[in-house]
């Protein structure tokens, strides 16, 4: 094969390598989903996998969750600022979750493995898994009234937990000593490690058969392809400056909506997303990192302009994201962020859609349940004496589209986590699901209707169990587009009474 440097491989070889790289990323998710032990991973699939180049440019990803996938590249880039390449060794697996290191929130723990060939780091395999508990003030590590980052759990700066020699047990023990449900977490860590190892082996084969120079040239070309396609797609959107805003209900501490605002400038084949008019950083945990802002922009533009473009760092090149330090989407690192990952990120997407309603309304779906609708239960199962944490997301109906009604209960946009079946919940947690049904007519009315949302009734069977909720779109309902009516807001009821506008526990309102 061609291993001369600086020679562009033929388009057929590039396509063969592109296929191989995507297969490797997909295989990582396959490995972790099959071997993980926490239901959040094995049942709900709250995980993602990706490959980046040696500088952290996204090469290929699995069919996972956009909120995760959008920060894989920045995680590696920021990781490399803390851990210089010279310190990396073949066989390393580094774990980290610090939001300020290119990340999103503490429960999403990333395993990063450098892949070596011909004596140098050629790529990184990254496997992100949402741990059902990362320690902190409340079981499940969601603290709706948290006021600082340390209440949210264990903060893992880049930590080499595995080397070619095996497991670093002391480091593993520090992690396991600071999270609830240590057996389950240990299983998840091993599954993440196994996923990165399979990617390492496959990449080694690829580098061996084509030579590193050819593979790197192919990767550069794959990035260029996506960039060209994204630029062409942006060119089809009329030039101009478009403003959109949407609001979060409240931050769990202060009782007022928080504005997320974006100015989208389309100019030729490039687009700028300026979030500087967004409100200041929140006291409560709805802050989002600038990396999450980047993920929201990446998702929104791919969805609007290029659903079929191979997602990689090339797509991001024509996109510029501006955030204001001190704002909700670029907060001081001491602020809590746990909900920003899936609530504020969706609101940024909503704001972008509202901005572009002026020019591409036919491409958009009306606002769906852009909240994770989170309920977390933690406690000891009296049947086994073991600690359990259930983390469950609840989808609402899909927003209506120009050509059809929205469908029932679908996870929109940045999220794509499955529900946990009632039978699995009842088998593994001291909880009974008494009813799960559609909320008929809850979608917004219009020429086409929004899809119906759902209701699910939980009964706690343990003498004591904690519950946390983080549900948005309780005050500000899902929006209609082009004159359609808004959908019904979300509601959480606690023994028949309204809980605090989607947050429990929270300060009385």
């Amino acid at each position: 094969m061609n291993s001369e440097p600086n020679v562009r491989p033929d388009p057929f070889t590039i396509e063969v390598i592109r296929n191989a790289l995507t297969a490797i990323a997909e295989e990582m998710s396959l490995v972790i989903m099959r071997s993980a032990r926490s239901p959040l991973l094995r049942e709900a699939g709250d995980l993602s996998s990706a490959l980046t180049d040696a500088e952290g440019g996204l090469i290929a990803q699995g069919r996972d969750i956009p909120a995760h996938l959008g920060i894989m590249g920045s995680t590696v880039q920021e990781f490399l600022k803390r851990v210089p390449k010279e310190r990396l060794q073949p066989g390393d697996v580094w774990f980290l979750n610090l939001p300020e290191v290119g990340g999103n929130h503490l429960p999403d723990v990333k395993a990063i493995r450098p892949v070596f060939a011909e004596g140098a780091v050629q790529a990184f395999a990254v496997c992100l898994a949402h741990w059902a508990d990362i320690g902190g003030a409340r079981p499940g590590s969601y603290v709706p009234d948290a006021r600082d980052a340390w209440q949210e759990g264990l903060r893992i700066s880049p930590l080499r937990v595995f080397t070619a020699e095996g497991t670093d047990h002391e480091k593993l023990e520090i992690i396991l000593s600071n999270v609830r449900g240590r057996e389950e977490r240990e299983g998840d860590i091993l599954a993440q490690m196994a996923a990165t190892r399979s990617a390492d082996e496959r990449l080694q084969e690829l580098f061996a058969s084509y030579g590193a120079a050819t593979v790197q040239a192919a990767i550069a070309d794959i990035h260029d392809q996506s960039e060209r396609q994204m630029r062409a797609a942006i060119r089809e959107i009329p030039d101009g400056e478009y403003f959109g805003e949407d609001f979060l209900d409240h931050d769990g501490i202060d009782d007022h909506p928080i504005g997320v605002r974006v100015r989208v400038t389309i100019k030729g084949d490039a687009a700028t997303f300026d979030f500087r008019e967004t409100d200041d950083a929140a006291k409560g945990p709805l802050n989002a990192t600038p990396f999450t802002a980047g993920a929201s922009v990446f998702y929104a533009m791919k969805a609007i302009a290029g659903p079929d473009i191979q997602p990689n760092a090339g797509c991001g090149r024509p996109l510029k994201v501006i955030t204001r330090p001190g704002s909700l989407v670029n907060p001081p690192y001491s602020r809590p962020v746990v909900g920003g990952n899936h609530e504020t990120s969706q609101r940024m997407v909503d704001a972008i859609f509202k901005a572009l309603e002026a020019v591409v309304p036919e491409r958009l779906s009306a606002g769906g349940s852009t909240t994770s609708g989170l309920l977390l239960f933690g406690g000891t199962d009296p049947r086994t004496g073991k600690w359990t944490t259930l983390y469950e997301v609840h989808a609402g109906g899909e927003g209506a589209r120009a050509e059809r009604d929205g469908g029932p209960t679908a996870r929109p946009h940045m999220s794509n986590v499955m529900n946990t079946p009632a039978e699995i919940i009842e088998a593994f947690y001291p909880i009974r699901i008494e009813r799960q049904a559609l909320r008929h007519g809850s979608g917004g009315q219009g020429r086409h209707h929004g899809g119906p949302g759902q209701e699910r009734h939980y009964r706690i069977l343990a003498p004591e169990m904690s519950m946390t909720s983080m549900v948005e779109r309780c005050v500000i309902p899902p929006y209609g587009l082009q004159g359609g009516a808004p959908g019904n807001p979300s509601r959480s009821l606690w023994n028949g009474r309204m809980a605090n506008a989607g947050r429990y526990p929270a300060r009385p309102m």
């Binding site: 033929d10 388009p11 057929f12 070889t13 590039i14 396509e15 063969v16 296929n19 191989a20 995507t22 297969a23 295989e27 396959l30 099959r34 071997s35 993980a36 032990r37 239901p39 094995r42 699939g45 996938l69 057996e183 299983g187 091993l190 490690m193 196994a194 190892r197 399979s198 070309d221 260029d224 396609q229 969805a303 659903p307 997602p311 491409r363 958009l364 779906s365 989808a395 899909e398 059809r404 469908g407 209960t409 794509n416 986590v417 499955m418 529900n419 079946p421 009632a422 039978e423 699995i424 009842e426 088998a427 008494e434 009813r435 799960q436 049904a437 559609l438 119906p452 759902q454 009734h457």
Partner: protein
């Protein structure tokens, strides 16, 4: 071998097939019956209207599903298919069982009577009953089923069909089964009545074995993948005969390619698949189907090239068919490269035309500044890369190192791509079996008569009982043995295999571990951990459980394959033609063509060579060596590594 065209009435087809080889139905001792009846009904949505009875509060599980979407970055998400049962035909039963199988809300006789009345009013023929936690305690479903006797002819109970947790998947599977019952059960009744009691009828099911007409009548869902399963079973029988312990079956057709793994002569089972967008949980061969085949279209996408997923299909077909296709396809690449003779007739209606293929490829070659031959070679490589992804997925799923596998190629296009695909993948052996393109029928005939069943066991390593396991396995084996004895198999020739699906407590997917008496805990523990280590790269000392018990009883095939094969071995060793072909590396080589039916046993040739039979074309690339074995299977040794 006799073959008749499909008849509108399959019963008439069977009688005609017997007639074509001079047999009366009464002369036939056993019929191995594969069918696409259920598959087609599912894919085309021709399903009987049914009612569903669910636990109170759970009738809308079918709408809610698992709430995820398949397309990540597409706002115009493809809507999920409509639920199998419309809302007005779903009833809720007042009853409840908990996660330990204990009744917490009783099911009263009055409630059963009410449900029966309402079902009657709906006017359906078939009812699915799927209650929460019925996989632990099926009593309520059984009682509702009894209550429906005389009300509707067909009832499917979820705890019998799919005794596993996850209400959405189980309810869907049960509903699908109920919706197939009227069609399949009536057909089988008609067939059995016609056959009488002298002929054994063995239905070829999706897991690659047989089942009695009786059991299929109540579980027609077991036929969902009957067709592909026959191909894989045939591959397994060839694997056993040739003593190949790791085989990838590679069935490449015009628009799709099926890939499957065979380990130690056994097909691999995946009980969690989807058809037509619906989850189907049944024992089915683990087949990875990808939308790529000989008809896949190559197109330029900016500076990049893509092959598929669009296909020229059968109409208009590849450009070389001359039926109006103008886009370059994989088949066109093969004719341009000289692998298929221009002018050859296909099925009497199509005459292959290389000029049309070249015209279709010209714009692609021009855009990339390559010759037409290099473009054709490139398209083949990209098509092979698509295949390689499917190969990768099936081998990863089953923890098998693909490089240690033999690639068993069949289907119309499989033998044309097998050698280059093998080389790309680091596979060193390819086998193109006899009858490679009529392989499914061959599979039904030569497969072992085998009956299999799986039941939940939930046996924890901490409270191990070899006795329980042994008794359950023996009971299952006895049930499975019955139809084999009835069809005249000798009991002492039957082989009973027991396997457990084991997982760490709390883990989702289980791994299959062969089990044998005396079911010693330490031995099972060692075997499980070794397999877990192989599949996932780690094993711990945590508690595990035998989630499900799988028992297979098989009898050796009545059909002697070697007899079928040797009479076809010929004596001609000279090529029928020499033509120019192009291979990787761009070299144009004089390539001998051989007629496969004329080749003698032990004949051997080094590539390049093309070997043709009535059904397919086998490409032996330069550097590869082909030889014919005593059963007329063609073996090809591929040189190690990439070129």
């Amino acid at each position: 071998m006799g073959k008749v065209l499909s008849q509108t009435d399959p019963v008439a087809g069977i009688i005609a097939a017997c007639g074509s080889v001079g047999l009366e139905l009464s002369d036939v001792s056993d019929i191995m019956h594969g069918t696409t009846m259920a598959t087609n009904a599912i894919v085309e949505g021709r399903l009987a209207p049914i009612a569903l009875i669910a636990t109170e509060g759970f009738a809308e599980v079918l709408d809610i599903g698992r709430q995820n979407r398949r397309e990540l970055y597409k706002m115009a998400v493809t809507p999920r298919p409509d639920p199998l049962v419309p809302r007005n035909r779903r009833l809720e039963a007042r009853q409840r069982t908990d996660a330990q199988g204990a009744e917490i809300t009783a099911l009263t006789g009055a409630e059963i009577a009410r449900l029966a009345r309402e079902v009657k009013a709906l006017g359906v023929e078939s009812v699915a009953v799927s209650l929460i936690h019925s996989y632990l305690n099926g009593d309520h479903e059984t009682r509702i089923g009894r209550g429906l006797e005389g009300v509707v002819p067909f009832v499917a109970l979820s705890h019998q069909l799919n005794p596993e947790p996850r209400e959405y998947e189980r309810t869907n599977s049960t509903a699908m089964n109920a919706a197939l019952m009227p069609l399949v059960a009536r057909y089988l009744k008609r067939l059995v009545d016609r056959l009488g009691s002298q002929t054994g009828l063995h239905m070829f099911h999706s897991a690659g074995g047989m089942a009695s007409a009786d059991s299929i009548s109540s579980r027609p869902l077991a036929l969902a993948l009957s067709g592909p399963a026959a191909g894989v079973a045939a591959a397994a029988s060839v694997a056993r005969r040739l003593n190949l312990d790791r085989v990838i079956s590679f069935d490449m057709g015009g628009t799709t390619t099926d890939v499957s793994v065979i380990v130690d002569g056994k097909v691999q089972i995946d009980s969690n698949q989807r058809m037509a967008g619906y989850p189907i949980r049944q024992m089915m061969v683990a087949v990875e189907t990808i939308g790529a085949g000989g008809g896949s279209i190559a197109r330029r996408d900016g500076t990049a090239v893509r092959v598929g997923p669009d296909s020229a299909g059968a109409n208009p077909g590849p450009a070389c068919y001359g039926l109006g296709g103008t886009q370059p396809t994989v088949a066109d690449a093969n004719i341009i490269l000289g692998y298929i003779e221009s002018g050859r007739e296909l099925g009497g209606t199509v005459r292959l035309d290389i000029k049309k293929a070249e015209a279709a490829f010209a714009p692609l070659a021009k855009a990339f500044g390559t010759s037409i031959h290099d473009a054709a070679l490139g398209v083949r490589r990209v098509a092979n890369a698509n295949m390689a992804r499917a190969l990768r997925r099936v081998t990863v799923e089953h923890g098998v190192d693909a490089r240690a596998c033999t690639l068993l190629a069949f289907g119309g296009a499989g033998p044309m791509h097998a050698v280059s695909l093998a080389r790309e993948f680091g596979i060193q052996n390819v086998v193109v079996p006899r009858f490679s393109s009529a392989f499914s029928a061959f599979g039904c005939m030569t497969a072992e008569m085998s009956y299999a069943e799986q039941r939940p066991l939930h046996l924890q390593s901490g409270v191990w009982s070899a006795n329980d396991l042994s008794e359950t396995a023996a009971r299952m084996a006895e049930r499975l043995t019955d139809p084999l004895l009835k069809s005249g198999c000798a009991r002492d020739r039957l082989r009973v295999e027991v396997a457990g699906l084991l997982r760490y407590t709390g883990q989702s997917d289980a791994v299959e571990v062969p089990l044998a008496a005396p079911y010693d805990l330490a031995a099972v523990d060692t075997a499980f951990k070794a397999i877990h280590q192989r599949l996932y790269g780690f094993a711990t000392d945590e508690a595990w459980e035998v989630d499900t018990l799988r028992v297979t009883v098989s009898a050796p095939p009545k059909q002697d394959v070697s007899a079928l094969a040797t009479d076809a071995a010929g004596t001609a060793t000279e090529p029928v033609a020499i033509r120019k072909c192009w291979f990787e590396g761009g070299s144009e080589l004089d390539t001998p063509y051989f007629d496969r039916d004329q080749l003698p046993v032990d004949w051997k040739i080094a590539g390049p060579a093309i070997i043709e039979d009535a059904w397919s074309t086998i490409i032996v690339d330069p550097g590869a060596t082909a030889w014919v074995d005593a059963h007329a299977h063609l073996h090809i040794a591929v040189e190690a590594g990439r070129k």
